[in-house]
Symmetry: D2
């Protein structure tokens, strides 16, 4: 249940305020060079505290390689990477035990796991676990870059914050209102071959949306023109094929037709809700008293969690594509440098 | 790859102009009463030809039960249901073999399967296969209705066609323009218990979006306030919990928090692109000549495929929920009437 | 649950006395030539009635291709094959409803499926379903034969019946005793490359034994020297590697070391219990009376079911190997003749 | 590929001479009490050095709980357990890099992973990883013991060493011959309910044999009378059902009929080959020279690895049964003490 993928297969684990979070990656080809340095840039991008709008919690977040590497190369055996939780302030959360935070998983976790859940900082539901996705994404990106014909490049960026295309303006809105805001992230993939994905259940959109909704705070996903497509006529929306490689005149489809990549740029967007932990006082239930009471979030949080999502979105996209490329035998099981 | 689900597990197969399409359903509890009559209403809803905007192709679409039933009850063994293809006019398509239809899977199927694909009417990529999803959905809905405490009810309806909330008006727009249009479908589920779904990869949104994108022509999905959430402040978006059952004051989350149902109504919407087969003349490549040429769709088609989608959306939603309820042991393995 | 395989993935369904039995095969490469004629020889080998010791029940057992083929070639879409049940005499079984046949699944099926199971002729538990395995095996064998370097050849044969190496003698023993007997089948695979299988859970032995125990009446499996290995010293049992291809001096390992094929002949044996339906009168419980009573099998049955198993064993072995070869990218996703 | 199970699902990882070995367990019910002390007895049983015939390598082998536990109880989130490798003497193996040890995975690992494998002490193929299976088995056993009606008890024991029923005698044979020997382990499970397992691919025998062959050195498995069944008549082999609970007069079936448990004791046996690392000098290929040369094993090894297997066999058996009991909804998702 905490697993994803068919050949390049990831297993996620850990809690926000436990010993560590981590990931196990099975099915990665042997012979891929892998060092701590490969991870630093993406992990840095995911970290909070670097710009206004993100949380001051800082972890060194150095990947600790436990298994699957030998002489700085993947061996073909499962790769296990841990990230220690060093900078936790659990007492912030213990105080709030009886008050499920609105917008957070506290209430559903309690319902689902009968009170045995690790509630500190969201426990296993925490966004903290996305550092593991970023790590797996780094490996997946290296696989995409290893393709002989043309490297596949995945790039995600914020296109809107708090309803503003000018991102700074959107953030300032949140700061002024002492509230949190959401945003839209767009992901684009170039160099992607035609033929990835399957009809029906393993369509590219199915697989991508499946893993995208594993990212906390995602509320929607759309491919190509997406929701705007419903206002177009068919003759406008259809992308005319121009050459034998499948290059189309327009790209309203966002690079996927019939669930299969068509050789054009893959384009999709996701919606991130405003951070649930907002400085504003809110109402919620107190489990112990059974009464609704005012509630104010303590702890460290992001005004706009969307700022941290692009690198995570790139990661999960690369993970899906690496798996599909292995399935299509476009990435070999052994990488000879 | 043509499979979906963990316990209630479906396998889809068939081609638009082959002998038949069908589905195999594994893991369905024993003892569920099942007769042809159970399927008629939903199959009728999916059929074209009933209203303006849908295709005149008609199949009787009677489900043929091949396995898994005995004395009109499920046995616990895999259920196989076939739908024969009686009313095919494949010659329409054979003529167009060298011209991949814009917006259709013809080109990608050719790339993926090397020319061995059954190209007639979209072959295995055809919307025809959704009749099988509807059939599995009928079974899943019966499981949802069997719950002791409260029946779970799944209802999908069109909220917008061709950019118009007045559906008739949207359709007329297409008829006037001699073009096709898309639409938005909303799905609502009542009676759903809290605690379904898993953190991360098997979140309710992950599973639903996975199977939703198996429906041809879907371009986007959003839960609760969805893309509109990005314009809200956190304090507005958060749903205040009001009682011990998890009932919230508002339902911006659409009934899912942290990937888990929270006991409120489940609400999500999907975007359906305008039908790719539009009466309008279009440009596309001719594979044989290697040149772009004008192209005009023959065959029978829907002006607005979105009209047929609500019952399919209900079906796939019920399929996901039946599986999760089995996993949570809320539906037993044997149903004693 | 009725599925097996990772890429070349089969789904089995049907009941002995229902409409039909069948199989769905997903993940088969596109472009494989496939015709009824390809199946006849193996289906014939599985049939009863051809020699003393096998059941007089005869089905034409012609494969009915429902999906996945086009112009006599696989398309890459799921292949569905049905076998109709024409020659059923269910009344034989209905009479015995209250008496679970010893050695058969009647009792456990009732326990597991709460009385909703199709009990006629063993229902979904029937050996009748192995015709579907044989069909999938024919396809898998064709894939093994398509390898460029060297065709892989799977051959199973009976080595012992009723405790006798002389098979005729073993059968005569059963006829004389008016009882049933079991046997041992050996399977040998030549041309198999080194490197198939995975350490631990997906070892070649794990996968083969998994599917082998899906064959009714199998009671044991051993690889290479198998149970006899426990009487050898390590220095005797070890196979000395003689050349860079991994050719070993002896083959006590039966071609698998560490769960991975080592390039030598794959050799394993299975034990088939004596047919449970024996002409001899036996004791069993009557569910209605709650008392033990004498019982005598009606219906048509084999004196020695082991006689029909070699072709089934070949089939399941080929299925496992085809899957592993796809996973190792030694069989391509598209077969160009 | 390094995963096993459907609901109670394990993922194994690590290398003999790397940082650590470990296991991730997903799908374990919440609320199970779990402490270091629970693991000690079984881990001790697996350890070498306690009796003649086992290796002097000693690890403390204390389980390090990384995730999934909170206040000494399972939380429902994935459990990660590590075992550090403290007592490695890798230089022993590095010297032998060019000489693949006969009977070991050195050669096949090299073929499969292209030379990138961690070859030290067998790397990911090492029997060292079975400590992780034992750990998962401890958890599974606690689940089996938690059943309300009757605790399920799994017991494995050695029945034969080096061809001798008198185990001491068998070991002495090895010591005298300065060679290694194999053995037979029998596993018995009491208190097991009828109805576990599925027809065909997920038969109890299929699942058990699948995971049993993940244990290094296993060469065969047989259920009930197993290979001896082939010498019996059907009327002798059939177990007469005596009462409504399915209790049979004899238990030749070993508690499984039609792939499903029948409520009687589950009985099966496995064959363990003689330890590949024997003190005797042997021949093998030198990869660098391409010539066959004499070879003598350095490092620490067991004269009879079978001595360490009973607790591992219990573990994998308990793992399968816990998974099936969850699937059958006989173990709840939340355990309330």
């Amino acid at each position: 249940m905490n697993s994803f993928g068919r050949i390049f297969r990831i297993h996620i684990f850990g809690e926000s305020h436990g010993d560590s979070v981590g990931i196990n990656i099975d099915g990665c080809p042997a012979g891929l060079s892998l060092m701590s340095e490969d991870f630093l840039a993406d992990i840095e991008r995911r970290k909070g505290g670097l710009q206004k709008g993100t949380t001051p919690r800082k972890e060194d977040d150095l990947p600790i390689f436990k298994t699957g590497l030998f002489n700085n190369k993947t061996t073909g055996a499962p790769i296990t990477i841990l990230f220690e939780n060093k900078n936790t302030r659990s007492e912030d959360y213990q105080k709030q035990r009886s008050v499920p935070r609105p917008g957070h998983a506290d209430f559903v976790a309690h319902k689902k796991f009968g009170g045995f859940e690790d509630y500190r900082g969201g426990g296993h539901f925490s966004g903290r676990l996305t550092v593991s996705l970023v790590a797996a994404g780094v490996i997946a990106k290296k696989l995409l870059a290893s393709l002989e014909d043309e490297a596949i490049k995945v790039t995600a960026s914020i296109t809107e914050i708090g309803g503003e295309k000018d991102i700074e303006k959107g953030l300032q809105k949140a700061i002024d209102a002492k509230d949190s805001v959401g945003g839209i992230i767009e992901c684009r993939v170039t160099g992607i071959p035609a033929g990835l994905g399957e009809p029906f259940f393993d369509s590219v959109e199915s697989l991508l949306s499946h893993i995208v909704f594993a990212i906390p705070a995602v509320r929607g996903i759309e491919f190509g023109t997406g929701f705007a497509a419903v206002k177009m006529f068919g003759s406008e929306h259809n992308d005319a094929i121009e050459n034998m490689d499948g290059k189309t005149k327009t790209n309203h489809a966002g690079g996927v037709v019939g669930g299969i990549t068509n050789g054009n740029e893959l384009v999709f967007r996701i919606a991130i809700k405003p951070t649930s932990s907002t400085p504003k006082e809110q109402e919620t239930l107190n489990w112990e008293t059974g009464k609704v009471e005012n509630f104010s979030v303590k702890g460290r949080h992001d005004l706009c969690i969307a700022l941290r999502v692009p690198v995570i979105l790139e990661a999960v996209t690369a993970i899906v594509l690496a798996d599909l490329l292995l399935l299509e035998q476009r990435i070999p099981r052994i990488l000879h440098a």
